[in-house]
């Protein structure tokens, strides 16, 4: 039976939720008491690439957090009244952040 029952709108929406994946081969190799085979003897390059991927993942996570914070702040701006942050300070353009 083919997977032919689709809802394009929902499936397009669903595609917004992406999840990261990692190379687990070294972890599995360690867990089963084997060591992952080295491709072309370039283990240092592979390690460097893996480190860069981890760093990129970290940047993506920071970016996602930043986006969520921007969204939160925007909602604050739209929904909250202006509040004074310091005694006697002008209230124009200020919002309560917490």
């Amino acid at each position: 039976m083919m997977n032919d029952e689709t809802n394009p709108v929902i499936e397009a929406l669903a595609s917004a939720w992406t999840v990261p994946t990692f190379d687990l081969s070294q972890r599995v190799a360690n867990a089963i008491g084997a060591s992952a085979p080295v491709v072309d003897g370039s283990s240092e390059l592979l390690d460097e690439i893996r480190a860069m991927r981890r760093e990129m993942q970290s940047f993506r996570q920071s970016n996602a957090l930043l986006h969520e914070e921007v969204l939160r702040l925007r909602l604050e701006l739209n929904n909250k009244k202006v509040a004074r942050l310091a005694p006697y300070a002008p209230t124009e353009g200020l919002v309560r952040l917490s």
């Binding site: 039976m1 083919m2 997977n3 029952e5 809802n7 709108v9 929902i10 499936e11 929406l13 669903a14 917004a16 939720w17 992406t18 999840v19 990261p20 994946t21 990692f22 190379d23 687990l24 081969s25 972890r27 599995v28 190799a29 867990a31 089963i32 084997a34 060591s35 992952a36 085979p37 996602a64 986006h67 969520e68 921007v70 969204l71 925007r74 739209n78």
Partner: protein, 183 residues
């Protein structure tokens, strides 16, 4: 020498004979699908999704001597990962699924990247509100693009049940994401 196009069953035979490189190829071949499936089953927890995927591979390694070649290794791995996910979800069940928290509404502003993040969060929350039985079918069908027969094999349910659960899941998502549909 292992060829990249060797079947999973052949690789399992090699693994049972002590060839860890053959098993490594199985891991590389299936790891990303397992991680995506587990991570989504767990609501986006990619660290635990990776842990459970490793757990599924370890179980496969432990059963390498008794594994029967059926041409369905991918289904076996998905089924094992699914069971591990259910166990993990049972252990974390005391925390309610944020029923009181409304699904985020479409943003009024123009920042598309912010809106994209909000859509992703809304989708994640809506998917997590589905029962595990329906969530697993939806993820394997919509995200992993498996056929009903493949899902049927992986989850050990009939293809008719797969179709029915997917329809229910889509209907529930449609209701929960109605605000986003015309964006």
């Amino acid at each position: 020498m292992i060829r990249d196009d060797e079947s999973d069953d052949r690789l399992m035979e090699r693994a049972a004979a002590g060839d860890s490189a053959a098993f490594d190829l199985i891991v590389r071949r299936h790891q990303h699908r397992l991680q995506r499936f587990a991570t989504r089953m767990l609501g986006g927890d990619h660290a635990q999704g990776a842990d459970l995927s490793v757990g599924a591979f370890i179980r496969l390694w432990e059963t390498r001597f008794s594994y029967r070649p059926t041409g369905q290794l991918g289904a076996w791995l998905l089924r094992t990962t699914y069971r591990l996910c259910l166990d993990a979800l049972c252990q974390t069940r005391p925390t309610p699924l944020r029923e009181a928290e409304p699904i985020p509404s479409p943003a009024t502003g123009p920042e598309s990247c912010v809106e994209q993040a909000a859509i992703a969060r809304a989708v994640r929350d809506a998917v997590m509100e589905l029962p595990e039985t329906h969530r697993s079918v939806l993820i394997l069908s919509v995200y992993e693009e498996l056929t009903y027969d493949e899902i049927s094999e992986a989850l050990e349910i009939s293809a008719g049940t797969v179709a029915s659960r997917k329809n229910h899941a889509i209907a529930m998502l449609k209701r929960r994401l109605a605000a986003w549909e015309n964006r």
